[in-house]
């Protein structure tokens, strides 16, 4: 019972964070939402009893890709639709 509730929470969180990534105008906030999405995917892998994949997903998805996006935002503009410098 409790597992089903946690599972449903994770799945609704996945949909919510994906919508956040789509609608945020602040690209830094969207990147952090994508990182949280990745973290929830890792949690989902752990619930489905694949801890190996969960560690990979947490390190690569939530850590490295978020860092790459933050570096890319540093080199360009922070808000969507802003004029490039």
């Amino acid at each position: 019972m409790i597992e089903t509730i946690v599972h449903l929470l994770v799945l609704f969180g996945l949909v919510g964070t994906a919508l956040m990534v789509f609608f945020f105008r602040d690209l830094l906030a969207a990147t952090l939402a994508a990182g949280f999405f990745s973290f929830l995917v890792a949690l989902e892998f752990y619930i489905l009893q694949a801890p190996d994949v969960a560690i990979s997903q947490a390190a690569i998805g939530a850590g490295l890709t978020t860092a790459i996006f933050i570096i890319a935002i540093r080199a360009t503009t922070r808000y969507e639709g802003e004029e490039s410098r």
């Binding site: 190996d52 850590g63 490295l64 860092a67 790459i68």
Partner: protein, 155 residues
């Protein structure tokens, strides 16, 4: 865009703990979930935390891309070297000659349910360490290459 002092201090405090956790995943690769790739990715995440939090000049002064390229090559050489030693002993390529030999990582696995002994499995932990070193270097080179696209004055 400069990161705030809170971010920099947090990254500097968190860095050694992430490093230790990654090394734990690499060294216990043959006993627990994880292994060379996962542990190396966790260690690289710790390095990347410091890279993102600090300014461009501080990072390029601290971390050279050449060092991590050499580290990547060292990991690959260690992997293929450990596999090739078996040929010089007259055994097949990748043969696990260290298992049950009594030397390093050479104890036999006890029978039945047990808590897991770190000093077992022969060549597999050495392969895990080699892959960990290689992934650590490779992923850090990716981030440093990404960082070198920045203009110096803007970062």
């Amino acid at each position: 865009m400069k990161m705030s002092k809170i971010v920099r201090t947090g990254a500097n405090i968190l860095y050694p703990f992430v490093l230790i956790f990654g090394l734990y995943i690499v060294l216990h690769g043959h006993l627990t979930p994880g292994g060379g790739f996962q542990g190396g990715a966790v260690i690289a995440t710790g390095v990347v935390l410091v890279i993102v939090a600090n300014s461009y000049e501080a990072v390029t002064g601290m971390l050279q891309k050449v060092v991590f390229k050499a580290q990547e090559s060292l990991g690959l050489l260690l992997f293929i070297g450990a596999a090739a030693i078996a040929i010089t002993l007259g055994l097949p390529f990748f043969y696990n000659f260290l298992a049950n030999s009594g030397s390093i990582f050479g104890l036999s696995v006890p029978f039945g349910p047990n808590h897991g002994d770190l000093n077992t499995a022969g060549l597999i932990p050495i392969m895990n360490i080699a892959v960990g070193i290689e992934v650590w270097g490779g992923l850090t080179v990716i981030i440093l290459s990404m960082l070198s696209g920045l203009d110096r004055k803007e970062a």
